[in-house]
Symmetry: C2
Subunit: 347 residues, 2 copies
């Protein structure tokens, strides 16, 4: 039964894939057994992340990119982590929702990931969905994620290629792009490029790229590098560290997703980046970074589960512990240290 | 020296507070010792979270709220987790940046938290800053956070009162608000309410609140509830669970932060929510949820640090482990399980 599911996923069976994803969402132990069996058969897919502010048109671009890959004969998986994406079912107002054209195409598999209930575990969950689609044989996996805050930067530990989608007419957007994202972007799409202000947005991005070249002439690539074991934060982040980077200048592509204008150029730029990754050896480095990030996320969850079980034995229910902390009769640092020491087996 | 720092923080010394925050950022062991010493003296401050899309005007509203509290004789701490906030220094374009009026007021203490390097630990870091400001004696702590994705929902595990800031003229915004955020909002501010479309935004929000009342007549409060120990995800989230909630209908307040219009009404609504929290016993429940969330975050980090140190002894450097996983000669699930078992001391 379990192995039957694994075989069916490997055969690309849509129902089996959907079933496994549901089981993962329900945290069934059998789902993890299945993921373990699938692991050796993953690592083939090219993972492309699209990130940007709500309203930037990430979903429309994703839709266009699906069409591009399908015409090239590639199968496509889509994961929408964006609560505003029509793919994720998050949009309820109905006035500007483009339903997915590809829902009935067996070469396209679309799944969404709610942010609700996945706090602290969103990247783990996304990585699991990527692994399932990879095992199903999807050639390309597009991950659409909202572009401000943590989720956006986590995409760098999941994707081979990160596309940052900007739009003109919102000065704030380029500001929002500034923090952290300049460092994860492999390409920029200036979408809605027929709007007033598009050239200014392009110029702003060019200026920021220029600034980056001046500030960091050796390049700084958040996708790889190595983490000292003490550097927990770096490990959690999938190891953002300095490392010499091959010469890749993030191109800026003007697109109008609604009409399709510029989408071929964007797709070609994504392909060019894929070729660059392969030729420079950067793909292998990013694959190691992805593996590290996946491992650390799994380890963290496993350890916390063990510790919380132990907590119940040692200290009582988590709620009671929290009440003592809230009443200031216990401090959370000492309790965490004590519990971690007991889990380690040292007194 | 260490205890001197603690005493100075408790006396509200700005330099000592800033120093401790820097030490926390650098993860100095002495900083955690200081936090432990401060813990019994925290729990006094009212923590108010402001969340919303980039460009919604959260920083301007924060600025106005600082003024309101100062006039009422309250000291204020501000934490900007928003990369686009002028408080966080994240905005570099300069064309629409209002510098903080309160930089020279000793009753106001402003700090920002970069999202960079804090992946997976952002809420832990924010909670630490809140604790320091609380220990410094700030009466009110305003936490400004970008409003889409995980960070936004994490604010619910940190704040007593969550203000969701919406703006007219971006249909997407109300869609963005939809997912998850309706459940964490204690108040809505419709900012830039002098703009066209403000009434529609208000009506949309009213409609969504109406819908929530129909769908969840008993109310659903993400701030409290209890987590079974097996429910790691819920524990990580600070336990979002169903629980009967006192009758609090999130008010919708129209504001124009630039002119100050409506800001007094917003401040009064925030105060009314604070009074409601106290009168209903909800404040104590939220304090327990905050304590639980802080404890679980600290525990998770501690355990991971121990395990990564163990990993080096057992398996070699994390990079080498990641290489084996990427080469598919090892699977991350099994390695994580083995390591967790060894950390637990079971074979």
């Amino acid at each position: 039964m379990g192995s039957g599911l694994v075989d069916r996923v490997l055969a690309g069976d849509v129902r089996a894939g959907a079933r496994l994803m549901r089981d993962l969402d329900d945290r069934l132990p059998s789902a993890e057994v299945a993921l373990r069996a699938l692991w050796p058969r993953t690592g083939r897919a090219l993972v492309v992340g699209l990130t940007g502010s709500p309203g930037a048109g990430k979903s429309s671009l994703t839709d266009r990119l699906i069409g591009h890959h399908r015409r090239a004969g590639r199968t496509v998986g889509v994961i929408a982590v964006d609560p505003t994406s029509p793919f994720s079912g998050g949009a309820i107002l109905g006035d500007r929702i483009r339903m997915q054209d590809h829902a009935t195409d067996p070469g396209v598999f679309i799944r969404s990931l709610g942010t609700r209930g996945h706090l602290g575990g969103l990247s783990r969950s996304t990585a699991d969905l990527v692994a399932v689609m990879d095992a199903m044989g999807k050639d390309v996996i597009l991950v659409e994620t909202v572009g401000v805050g943590q989720d956006e930067i986590e995409i760098a530990s999941l994707a081979h290629t990160v596309v940052v989608v900007a739009v003109p007419g919102m000065g704030d957007d380029v500001q929002a792009i500034k923090a952290g994202v300049m460092e994860i972007a492999d390409l920029f799409a200036v979408n809605k490029a027929d709007r007033e202000g598009a050239e200014r947005t392009v110029r702003d991005l060019q200026g920021m790229l220029e600034l980056r070249r001046i500030v960091q002439p050796s390049g700084r690539d958040p996708h790889h590098g190595h983490a000292g074991l003490a550097e927990v934060a770096a490990a959690e982040a999938g190891a953002f560290a300095d490392a010499p980077s091959e010469a890749w200048e993030p191109p800026i592509v003007r697109t109008v997703a609604l009409s399709g204008q510029g989408v071929e150029a964007l797709a070609e730029a994504i392909d060019a980046h894929g070729a660059h990754l392969a030729a420079s050896g950067e793909k292998a480095r990013r694959d190691v970074a992805r593996a590290r990030s996946a491992f650390v996320a799994i380890l963290r969850e496993r350890l916390l589960a063990s510790a919380l079980a132990r907590l119940e034995l040692e200290l009582g229910r988590l709620d009671h512990v929290a009440e003592r902390i809230a009443a200031r009769t216990a401090d959370p640092y000492q309790l965490a240290e004590e519990l971690a020491a007991r889990v380690r087996g040292t007194p």
